[in-house]
Symmetry: C2
Subunit: 347 residues, 2 copies
């Protein structure tokens, strides 16, 4: 009479399935904590459950569970009933500290925008269409974003946050001593150019982005004492000419666009570079076997869900596109974490 339901004890455990399936709960708890300002309030002053709840304007029903979940997840600690930030949340999640700019703006964007878009992932997979339903969204994902100064500032600084560690590597890993000028295409706040110039005093450069990015870029360059060697060029890299430079860098840019636009950018780079010049593409590359870098593959699904044609790619694919664009020598190098660079030299 008995069938195999429930499974024999020897069946593979479902623990990892359940853990992954429900991981969105811990994820959203942290994103909400950033959104409502838990870490910023506790950095101002540690507080017990009642005071913290009142300062944040939260309802009594869920507040204690919310704070204690953050304790159990390791993002807060509680001592004699008083909540404190951990060193990790204090350094990165307090809006009043400069460290907030590195990852928290990315978390704000994930909580306010990406999580809801990912809720429609199945629709994106069935239709191939972006699921970004923002009212102000039009043909070009970036037009709306760049039109709102607050959203733009958040977006640009979040780009610094997700690329800073890799930027530090690029500043040392590329043979910059062979060159005298560089231009960072889609520069955002400019952290890649800033790190490259800080590490290479003989180099001067420009950041290229839509004109609206200039104030944020200039402030960042000034803050790092680089205004004498680092300028800004406003423009649209699909319709305007590229700046002249020995090296053109594209950091987390190509994955935003469809295949044709990716190739247009690489071709324009080849045309703009002098002989001996190089293009340096840096992205969260999918591994060539497409079986290991989960972060990069999920980032590519993110591009499916939030852009009209964007997708991630492997180093091998990018080198093919570079050679098609005219580059003679190309290679891929791992940087740090999930990030790599692809280099193309015009000989």
């Amino acid at each position: 009479m008995k069938n195999t339901n429930p499974p024999p004890e020897s069946a593979p455990s479902a623990d990892r399935i359940l853990e992954t399936a429900l991981a969105f709960q811990a994820s959203k708890t942290l994103l909400s904590a950033v959104e409502v300002g838990v870490f910023t309030e506790l950095a101002r002053k540690p507080a017990d459950v009642h005071e913290l709840r009142e300062r944040l304007g939260l309802h009594p029903r869920g507040a204690r569970d919310f704070f204690d979940a953050l304790v159990a997840l390791g993002f807060l600690r509680r001592e004699d009933g008083v909540y404190h930030n951990t060193p990790e949340s204090e350094a990165h999640l307090d809006r009043a500290k400069p460290g907030y700019g590195h990852v928290a703006p990315m978390l704000e964007m994930a909580g306010s925008r990406l999580f809801g878009i990912w809720n429609r992932l199945s629709d994106a997979l069935r239709t191939g269409l972006s699921q970004d339903e923002s009212k102000d969204r039009d043909e070009d994902t970036y037009d709306a974003l760049y039109a709102d100064p607050d959203r733009l500032r958040t977006f640009l600084s979040s780009m610094t946050g997700i690329s800073h560690r890799a930027n530090l590597r690029i500043a040392r890993q590329v043979p910059w001593e062979d060159y005298t000028t560089m231009a960072d295409m889609g520069t955002a706040q400019g952290d890649l150019a800033v790190q490259v110039l800080l590490a290479n005093p003989g180099l001067s450069g420009t950041g290229f982005d839509l004109p609206q990015a200039e104030p944020v870029f200039t402030e960042y360059a000034e803050r790092h004492g680089l205004t004498d060697r680092l300028g800004f060029t406003g423009g649209d890299f699909f319709t305007d000419p590229f700046p002249r430079a020995d090296v053109l860098t594209f950091g987390h840019i190509l994955h935003n666009w469809g295949l044709e636009r990716k190739k247009v950018l690489l071709r324009k780079a080849w045309e703009a570079l002098p002989q001996g010049g190089a293009v340096v593409v840096y992205d969260t590359l999918i591994d060539d076997d497409r079986s290991e870098n989960a972060f990069a593959l999920l980032m590519s699904l993110n591009m499916l869900a939030v852009t009209d044609g964007g997708f991630g790619y492997t180093g091998h694919e990018c080198q093919e596109w570079m050679r098609e664009a005219g580059f003679d020598r190309t290679w891929t190098e791992h940087l740090v974490g999930p990030d790599s660079i692809v280099v193309g030299v015009k000989e």
Copy 2:
């Protein structure tokens, strides 16, 4: 001129923050894979990217990234371009196998309902109100659920999935040899009663739930050859009398309700039990210090977001409510994973 932005290399790493913050992407990828039927199709027949995509009705744009992300996450494997289930996904995520009933219905519910509700977690925290915006939702969360036979079957079997391991423990850990009858309150598919009776041949029992649950319960009892010792009692445990039994069990029930209703159930249990009888409450208990069992604290936030008054609780709290209801001797025992039981004896 340089300020502390970007942070010194010695600052605590933000890796864990980013990992948790973005974990919703892996989560939703797995939930979508269950929804669109990836594992069921591959169990029928392994397939390459084109065939699998066509069989599932997915658009070419994201399909390969989707499948390869599942490879990188360890839920599929790919060999010479052909995708196969892993033993884990084959056992638990193929709709045609009985093992699907254990966790996958819970995943279906998470993907179709919970993920979207959790997107509004901040609103739940600010207002204390359920964020379940289902059109058919009315005063009582369970009325709508129980009115739709398909949703009900999925819900009831998902309850088996999340409690089966603990049910096997309860069947051995409670001194059932001291008793001759048991009633499982809010029994759903009946797995707790089934496991207790299978392990204790001297015992007979009844499953108590809303009348709509009877067909699903009876089928499950028959399948385990228990119809001679296991019956069903239909009713509403707030308005109808409790069945007579030496032991009353409440598995994953109390967390669905607000404090007053929790206490009503325990008081009614005390009144219905004979002298020497016991109530066994089993739930994903929050640890008494409220600082370790993240799963239980997140489950409590889930109750905030999906029910009108439900919340998780500690063993200590539950024992207090039991003593208030009249129970003389109470204790808490850990079961397995995040689950524990609280026992109250009427002496």
